[in-house]
Assembly symmetry: C2
Homo-oligomer: 204 residues x 2
């Protein structure tokens, strides 16, 4: 639909050299600025300056501010996810939740998450990135829960997807909505709470 050559991101025409360097510098500078001043106040002049690049160069690749931000968020979302395997469901869950706590403690992750939350309803491409990102994460977490279920650490009747949602949701509620601090103890507490019914039924 778009004959424009922009927006091809990594498939730069000079993949070995300056183009690639400039592209990476721009995306990195965008993320830094984004975390620092937010989306609304983001200025391409400053991004260009920080990246050591002329502003026109940015526009040669991305049509506008929104597209650039989408690309930057997309690039930073491409982190790989550690797969926990401590041997017990409780251990795996603790590890995962503590990882979330650590991630949400980073100002950069918080800022990025906030931007995605704020813009996803308005920007289809951000919506798409968010959906696939969370789907991946959830599939992994659900797999961990399923493994625990097969080991008999959780009742067969438990809905794994819902279990994961209920387990992690308070971390995001505290961070984004009610603005309360997160601790490892809190995370562990959530795990205990989620596993309590299983323990109780063991006692019968």
């Amino acid at each position: 639909m778009n004959p424009d050559r922009r927006g091809d991101a990594d498939t730069a025409r000079r993949p070995g050299g300056r183009s690639a360097r400039a592209g990476a510098a721009i995306l990195s500078a965008t993320l830094t600025e984004l975390v620092e001043v937010g989306y609304a106040a983001l200025s391409l002049d400053l991004v260009a300056a920080r990246a050591g690049v002329h502003r026109a160069t940015i526009y040669r690749r991305w049509a506008n501010k929104g597209d650039l931000v989408v690309a930057a968020v997309l690039a930073s979302a491409a982190a790989d996810i550690p797969e926990p395997d401590t041997g017990t469901l409780r251990g795996d869950l603790q590890m995962m939740l503590r990882d979330v706590v650590d991630t949400l403690a980073l100002p950069s992750s918080r800022a990025l998450l906030q931007i995605v939350v704020a813009e996803a309803d308005r920007v289809p491409s951000i919506d798409a990135v968010a959906r696939s990102f969370w789907q991946q994460r959830f599939e992994l977490a659900v797999a961990v829960v399923e493994r625990g279920k097969q080991r008999g650490e959780l009742g067969e009747d438990v809905d794994s997807a819902l279990f994961v949602e209920v387990l992690v949701a308070p971390l995001y509620l505290r961070t984004l909505v009610i603005r309360q601090p997160l601790t490892d103890q809190y995370a562990d507490h959530l795990v205990d709470l989620a596993l309590a019914p299983a323990l109780a039924s063991e006692d019968r």
Copy 2:
């Protein structure tokens, strides 16, 4: 600290007439625009036009775009909260959660919530509004849970605050983060899940 006469919001110098009307029109127009185009793209020109007011009039009251948005959000947060009392804890919780579901289904509430989530870390006054808003809501919900506890519908050892957090968190996770739809059935399911341990212990 600020000798400027701006920012007094409702304490206008001509409380009876044009000033009050203009102020209300501006705040209302701001909210409408905010929901429609978001914070980043909000233009005071359009707000002024929608409010039927000259742009300078806005600046006479609020120093900048940020202050105006804060005032608008603050004004809209002043809604009163219905206190449920169905006679049973399950009924009260279902009512509260369905109310949250309904609220989050409104584009205006979603948009406002998203703006608050995105800006609270950056704008102290938005942070303050958010904190007091949620504290009020949570106190009410905790009171409902405590009442249920006194009726014996919930174990004495349950942490009411944590109970409320875990109960409502998935609604916000789905709305803001993982972008999944909310239904009344889902809300009821959460209530059942939260009350399950209490039911199980009744059976002993």
